[in-house]
């Protein structure tokens, strides 16, 4: 038994000797890093850790050495290798590969997640990636004019924050309101020119549809949705009409005022004939946003040709469609052509000749009287000068 116990003792001593040096305890690190105001020899503030916050954070149960794995001794070198978050967060690290933020030197994890010693779950309002904090977090770079210019990007933060999504988020604190990450993703953010990106043109209906499922279903049934699904990149997706970041409430005056030229940027001939009508004339003066815009008649998302019986501009539906604004609209009233072209003799002969007659009347009357008046002016002045000394009063 004696032998056995001495073997065990020796073995135990060997074990102790063979084991690595005892790791630095948290208290050892905190003897310096527990004081946020402490400076090193060169006068730089050393990275301080607020232990009360740290212990409440997601990483609170970890030891310093778990992340700062290269630091074994005290004192440690001035330059330490950066912490490798990916040693635990492998999925996120994989996501970053190939993304617009792939450069780890330019975009360290902490640039979005904030202080590494104060990481909280994204459901916690203290987290930098809590939904209500995300725009501010991304805006640190994407609300910066110089940075935007340097990378050839628009300065999107102010646009977003004044949008309907931005208001819902900042004013109402609506957690479901779209924030940056809702559309762009988080780690694997791709350029909108990448077909894999949720913001690539053909993927946008699906991206917006994550929240706006009903609208997307409507849209996919309309001519625009079908064209995009068939690969026609000229057809508009959500962001072509609503914009990407500066999205407005569609019933808002500003949006109603700006929507027509958006449709007109593709439908040029329709815009030009619309411009000739009273709808456009009074609509462009403002203050009267009720005036019919394209989508008041054609529908907004499920735009369908007049030949489709479900279309609001199908002949059978016109009385109801026009009747939305014009109380008392009847079958005869809806023969009005909102896109009549007074310059086209074949399409609108009656209108063409009406316009021609009115123009001839205008030109003829003014032309005759212009000549008449000019000749009269010259003759009267001549007469006046010739007979000035003669009597005849001031109007002689």
């Amino acid at each position: 038994m004696k032998t056995a116990s001495s073997i065990a003792l020796v073995f135990g001593a060997l074990l102790v000797l063979a084991a690595p040096r005892v790791a630095l305890a948290e208290t050892d690190c905190l003897s310096c890093h527990g004081d946020t105001s402490q400076q090193d020899a060169s006068g730089k503030n050393i990275a301080g850790v607020d232990t009360s916050v740290f212990h409440a954070s997601l990483h609170g149960s970890l030891k310093c050495g778990d992340c700062h794995a290269t630091i074994k001794d005290y004192p440690h070198p001035d330059q330490v290798t950066p912490v490798k978050c990916e040693s635990c967060h492998t999925g996120e690290a994989e996501g970053l590969v190939g993304s617009v933020h792939a450069n780890r030197a330019e975009h360290p994890c902490t640039s979005c997640h904030g202080n590494a010693h104060a990481i909280f779950p994204k459901t916690d309002p203290r987290s930098a990636v809590y939904p209500l904090n995300i725009p501010h977090t991304c805006g640190a770079c994407h609300g910066n004019d110089a940075m935007a210019k340097q990378h050839g990007l628009p300065n999107v933060y102010p646009q977003y924050i004044d949008s309907i999504h931005g208001f819902a988020l900042s004013k109402e604190g609506l957690l479901v309101a779209a924030n940056c990450q809702s559309c762009h993703g988080s780690h694997h953010i791709l350029s909108h020119s990448d077909p894999q990106s949720p913001t690539y043109k053909t993927n946008i209906p699906k991206t917006c549809g994550n929240c706006h499922a009903g609208i997307t279903a409507n849209y996919m049934g309309g001519v625009h949705g079908k064209a995009v699904a068939a690969g026609d990149l000229h057809a508009p997706v959500c962001s072509d009409c609503h914009t990407a970041h500066a999205i407005l409430q569609p019933t808002e005056a500003t949006f109603r005022m700006q929507s027509t030229p958006i449709c007109g940027s593709c439908h040029k001939d329709k815009l030009s004939t619309y411009r000739d009508t009273f709808h456009s004339q009074l609509g462009s003066l403002g203050g009267y946003v009720e005036t019919a815009r394209c989508w008041d008649c054609h529908g907004a998302h499920d735009v369908l040709p007049a030949s489709d019986p479900r279309s609001p501009i199908a002949p059978a539906n016109l009385v109801a469609t026009c009747g939305k604004c014009h109380a008392g609209a009847n079958a005869s009233f809806v023969q009005y052509q909102p896109h009549a072209n007074a310059h086209n003799r074949k399409l609108n002969p009656a209108l063409y000749f009406t316009r021609l007659f009115m123009n001839l009347l205008l030109a003829g009357t003014l032309g005759f009287f212009l000549i008449h008046t000019i000749l009269w002016l010259i003759r009267s002045r001549y007469q006046q000068i010739k007979t000035r000394p003669a009597k005849g009063g001031k109007n002689g």
């Binding site: 411009r275 009508t277 009273f278 456009s280 004339q281 009074l282 609509g283 462009s284 003066l285 403002g286 203050g287 009267y288 005036t291 014009h326 109380a327 008392g328 609209a329 009847n330 005869s332 009233f333 809806v334 023969q335 009005y336 052509q337 009549a340 007074a342 609108n348 009656a350 209108l351 009406t354 316009r355 009115m358 123009n359 009347l361 205008l362 009357t365 003014l366 009287f369 212009l370 008449h372 008046t373 000749l375 009269w376 002016l377 010259i378 003759r379 009267s380 002045r381 007469q383 006046q384 009597k391 005849g392 009063g393 109007n395 002689g396």
Partner: protein, 286 residues
């Protein structure tokens, strides 16, 4: 005030001059209502016609947008319609109830006659120095044209305007294309009226050397004997020959009326010329 007193003190030196009535109070009021509502209709109609131009948008946003513009456009339209209907009723009352002679035909009628045709050509010959100046009667041909242009314009612009205002009602008896045509008619005829009044009428009636800078007779109702004689010699001679000159005698307009009329008239002419410039700039700018 000093100027005003001076004018009053000067008055006796012209005391010998006689003044003759050309327009009744009702006719002057009709003209005042006509030009006030016309300026209002032009000022509110032009921004709609040229809604793309910057001044139209500035004006619209200044007054509270399209809603305000169309409200005042309709308001002036209704006032002018009432004035027009009163005038038509008045003409027919004079002709049919009072059996007044010469309303539809004769030397004092507004209806064109053979003398007007001769006067047009005679006047043109005089312009070119090829003949004597025609001797005009009570209403010269261009004055008759002004009257009928307004009359025709009232019916055309009024009808097309009301057709747009009450489109579903008018659609009951108008063909579909007419609803498109009324806007073209309304805006072209309105444009013609605006261009005509603010250039031709202003010059023919007010700015030509014989009347420059303004013919006050439509405001005061009276004109001096000299003016009567030189502008409408045939009428003067006819009335004189009938021995009825005395029945046409009026009083020299008081200074306040002249000053008031000048203020109103110059304002109207200024607004009109401003609208003319804006119209031409928008018309040729677009």
């Amino acid at each position: 005030m000093a100027d005003l007193k001076q004018d009053t003190s000067k008055a006796p030196s012209h005391a010998g001059e006689r003044y003759f009535v050309r327009f009744t109070r009702e006719q002057r009021y009709l003209h005042a209502v006509l030009f006030t509502t016309f300026l209002g209709l032009a000022a509110t109609g032009l921004p709609m016609r040229f809604s793309e131009s910057f001044w139209a948008r500035k004006f619209a946003s200044g007054v509270g947008g399209f809603g305000t513009i169309i409200f005042f456009h309709k308001f002036f339209a209704v006032v002018l319609t009432v004035a027009f209907l009163i005038h038509v009723k008045d003409v027919f009352t004079r002709a049919l109830v009072h059996r007044e002679k010469g309303i539809f035909w004769g030397k004092t009628s507004m209806v064109a006659n053979w003398k007007d045709v001769k006067d047009i050509f005679g006047h043109m010959r005089w312009f070119l120095g090829l003949g004597p100046k025609p001797q005009f009667e009570r209403y010269a041909y261009w004055e008759k044209f002004d009257y009928w242009a307004v009359f025709w314009g009232m019916i055309v612009i009024g009808f097309s305007g009301y057709a747009m205002w009450f489109a579903p009602f008018f659609a009951r008896f108008l063909p579909g294309w007419a609803l498109n045509a009324v806007l073209v008619i309304h805006s072209e005829e309105g444009l013609l009226a605006i261009l005509f009044i603010f250039s031709i009428h202003f010059v023919n009636t007010h700015l030509r050397p014989d009347s420059f800078p303004m013919d006050m007779v439509i405001f005061t109702g009276v004109e001096s004997e000299e003016e009567f004689k030189t502008k409408r010699p045939e009428e003067y001679q006819r009335v004189a020959a009938q021995g009825k000159l005395e029945t046409r005698l009026g009083v020299k307009p008081p200074v306040w009326l002249l000053n008031f009329s000048k203020a109103v008239g110059y304002t109207a002419i200024f607004i009109g010329l401003l609208l003319l410039v804006l119209t031409l700039s928008a018309y040729f700018g677009s």
